[in-house]
């Protein structure tokens, strides 16, 4: 008998999406000077959700000016204790509205509600709570006796974890006494705009947080604005490089969190079933739209066949479909452009001789979807072993010895994260010391916590977000890293 789970959709009634949104500048929503708007769509249905303002130069100027005024007149003069009160208030409001925000995130981004509800939103609130606690204790952070804020922060964030990346950017910036102008990604602006509403609800002084929407050009104008003191960017490596060039010589502080091509290394003495889960979570969490995704599986040759067979069997149980269904494991690909990129790289895998396997899934007629896929017979020379796919595609490579695993894992221009699966503690420590990656997980993957710093080596960027390290990115101090 077959256990068919009946549809269990989370209600959309809890969200109220306006037909159009202006820009959130100086504490209120304003019409854009540019007069331009763009559409944001639900990637699971291609339904247009809303029209959102596209900020031009005059709008960017207005936002930075509002942030500067709020910095000079209010926020930098406020005691840490009072800044903390606002941040605690925001954190509580996020918790109170978490169901609404989770549904909104899933509608705009395509990620399963199980993930937005159980991962994104709890982490968003936790991040604000964590940095709220730091606001009045900065002199005890080991970053000097009287650390001072930088000023106005220009922050540009990606579409994969829209609200979580907002939290990672705004919470530490505000805790340290900076004001911000944040630009969400053009395909996922809605939760950032809901956050603007929360700022109003929290009575946050006008101009402390400004949210301007737009695409790459708006982002460029923002980071190049001369009255910005700090630039923080999460996104593609090419864009990060362009930002670094633009910022060079201006005196602006910069942190970049860019791409990755993480190795998830499974030894023959690994906890087998949990390693399978870890590999699945490593690359299929959030449709693989994760910069620290474990996109390369390095499996020890002695157990490779057995592991891959078990992995395929497990992938067959993943449930792809409506992101709002509480039982969905794999949601929609965020945009048509991203789907095209995943398809192009997957084709290159086949063309270059790797063997493709995809789980059998019924794909919805509308929207953008890609089935959980793995490639075996991948070598270091294949594009799918070197380039970030940013989708639900796993490249499987094998190794014979720990040294070979280290060599292959490090043989990439990226260095954001890595995973080690073994029951042997000494091997975990040895591997962790030898891997050039900012985050290393042992017998788990894609675990996040606001107290733990996150960031990369090499082309994965520099600077750390999260933990006490994350404060250094928003204060006038020597970077301890």
């Amino acid at each position: 008998m077959k256990f068919e789970y009946a549809a269990a959709p989370e209600s959309r009634a809890v969200v109220n999406i306006a037909s159009n949104y202006g820009l959130f500048i100086n504490g209120e929503f304003v019409e854009p000077h540019s007069g331009a708007f763009f559409k944001t769509v639900n990637p699971a249905t291609e339904e247009v959700l809303s029209e959102v303002a596209e900020a031009g130069q005059a709008d960017v100027d207005a936002a930075v000016k509002a942030a500067r005024r709020a910095y000079d007149k209010t926020w930098s003069r406020m005691s840490g204790k009072d800044r903390g009160k606002y941040l605690f208030r925001i954190a509580r409001l996020i918790q109170e509205r978490s169901r609404e925000l989770a549904v909104l995130e899933s509608i705009d981004n395509g990620k399963p509600i199980r993930e937005s509800r159980d991962v994104d939103l709890p982490l968003v609130a936790a991040h604000f709570f964590y940095y709220a606690g730091w606001a009045d204790k900065l002199e005890f952070a080991g970053l000097g006796d009287n650390p001072q804020p930088l000023g106005v922060a220009a922050q540009v964030i990606p579409w994969n974890f829209p609200l979580l990346m907002l939290a990672w950017k705004i919470a530490p910036a505000l805790a340290c006494g900076n004001t911000v102008v944040l630009k969400p990604a053009e395909t996922t602006p809605l939760t950032a705009l809901a956050f603007a509403d929360i700022c109003q609800q929290a009575d946050l002084p006008p101009g402390v947080v400004n949210i301007i929407t737009g695409a790459g050009e708006t982002g460029r104008m923002l980071v190049e604005h001369p009255d910005v003191n700090k630039v923080a960017f999460t996104g593609r490596t090419e864009v990060g490089k362009a930002i670094q060039r633009a910022v060079a010589g201006t005196g602006k502080a910069l942190t970049l969190e860019l791409g990755g091509k993480a190795a998830n290394i499974v030894f023959d003495d690994a906890p087998f079933d949990e390693a399978i889960e870890g590999v699945v979570n490593g690359i299929f969490f959030n449709q693989g739209h994760v910069c620290c995704a474990g996109s390369r599986l390095l499996i020890q040759e002695s157990v490779a066949d057995q592991f891959i067979e078990a992995l395929k069997s497990r992938l067959g149980t993943l449930r792809l479909g409506d992101p709002l269904d509480k039982n969905t494991d794999i949601g929609a690909i965020n945009s048509y452009q991203q789907l095209a990129k995943i398809e192009e790289l997957s084709k290159s895998g086949e063309d270059e001789g790797a063997e493709r396997w995809s789980a059998q899934c019924d794909m919805p007629d509308k929207g953008w979807w890609f089935p959980p896929t793995l490639f075996t017979g991948v070598t270091q020379a294949h594009r799918i072993a070197r380039e970030e796919i940013f989708g639900p595609v796993l490249s499987v490579l094998t190794f014979r010895t720990p040294d070979e695993a280290i060599e292959k894992a490090n043989n990439t221009p990226f260095g954001l994260s890595a995973g080690i699966w073994t029951e042997k503690g000494s091997r975990i420590l040895h591997m962790a010391n030898s891997l050039r990656a900012g985050v290393i997980w042992a017998n788990t993957f894609n675990r996040f916590d606001p107290t733990s710093p996150f960031g990369g080596y090499k082309e994965s960027g520099f600077g750390r977000e999260g933990g006490v390290h994350g404060l250094a990115a928003y204060l006038k101090v020597e970077d301890p890293s």
Binding site: A8, D273, E274
Partner: protein, 315 residues
């Protein structure tokens, strides 16, 4: 590993070196990871038709149980009536799979249920298992002779924890033989094994020795059945099937009291072993109070409102 005494089927023969080598060579279980997987499956939302279907299946999978010093023939007969017809107001409600009693109550139970459902007896000096093999064998034969067609035995946890796997193995083999045609469920008492590594090893040990079903708990030790423990046992059953082609059953017993909990177990079975195991032949709940909650939920679905405890029978 591999030991020289692994047979061509990939399983150990019954020698000490072979058993120890095999069991200690099984991959470890990462407790944090296993708990996370069980918790994630616990978030599955089972609604509407799926819920109705799951509730009826759960009822059909119950071993309705009374294992008390104060059991009497009257109590057992009342429970048997309930087992046959759980909801007297609704003839569409299925019977449970079996009644489960102590050995001296088997005859009463068998007379009450006839051949309509199974009669399971706990045997082998249940629940502690602290008796000689002779006593355990007599206990088993006694129950089978009285009409039990399922035997729930306990393993010797002391022997297991001291590494004497041969003793545990030999006892299961001997009891299996004493069972004759009766099905053998082997209780691991996971609450006394403590670690998930032990749960995996004990599961394999019981299956290799000839268990038809592996069962979590006696219900007399806390914790009894838990989702992570059951997950690890289901994974062992899955791997045993991959190795040998033989389907072993699983019984989760003790501590499962609500429909919501029962459905979580069915999800675990569905997503670990697949639909082939979603049958009373291969998955059971050992429970006493679970049935009434399933009935209340069943009534709610058919009538649209909750009734109360006086609208389901006590046994």
């Amino acid at each position: 590993m591999p030991s020289p005494s692994i047979t061509s089927s990939g399983l150990p023969d019954g020698s000490a070196a072979s058993l120890t080598g095999f069991l200690h060579g099984l991959p470890g279980v990462d407790q944090v990871g296993a708990e996370a997987r069980a918790a994630m499956l616990g978030t599955r939302s089972i609604k509407n038709d799926a819920k109705s279907w799951a509730i009826d299946l759960a009822i059909r999978m119950i071993d309705l149980t009374t294992l008390e010093g104060m059991d009497t023939p009257g109590k057992v007969r009342a429970m048997c009536a309930k087992a046959l017809r759980p909801d007297p107001t609704d003839s569409s409600c299925p019977s449970v799979a079996a009644v489960c009693v102590y050995g001296d109550m088997v005859q009463t139970a068998r007379q009450a249920v006839g051949d309509r459902i199974h009669v399971a007896a706990v045997a082998t000096a249940f629940p502690s298992g602290r008796a000689s093999l002779e006593v355990k064998l007599l206990d088993t034969r006694d129950a089978v002779n009285a009409g039990a067609d399922e035997i729930d035995m306990v393993i010797d946890r002391g022997a297991f924890l001291s590494g004497n796997y041969v003793k545990v193995f030999d006892e299961i083999v001997a009891i299996k033989e004493a069972c004759g045609s009766a099905h053998l469920k082997v209780i691991l008492e996971t609450g006394e094994l403590k670690t998930l590594d032990n749960v995996r090893r004990a599961s394999w040990l019981a299956m290799v020795a000839g268990a038809d079903v592996i069962k979590t708990s006696t219900g007399k030790v806390v914790p009894a059945a838990t989702l992570p423990v059951t997950l690890v046992m289901l994974e062992a059953v899955r791997d045993f099937h991959r190795t040998t082609g033989t389907r072993i059953g699983v019984k989760a017993a003790g501590g499962i009291r609500t429909s919501k909990d029962a459905i979580k177990y069915l999800v675990l079975v569905n997503e670990t072993l697949g639909e082939d195991w979603l049958t009373p032949d291969l998955f059971r709940f050992g429970a006493s109070t679970l049935l009434n909650d399933l009935l209340l939920q069943r009534q709610r679905i058919s009538t649209g409102h909750y009734s109360g405890p006086n609208y389901v029978t006590i046994d």
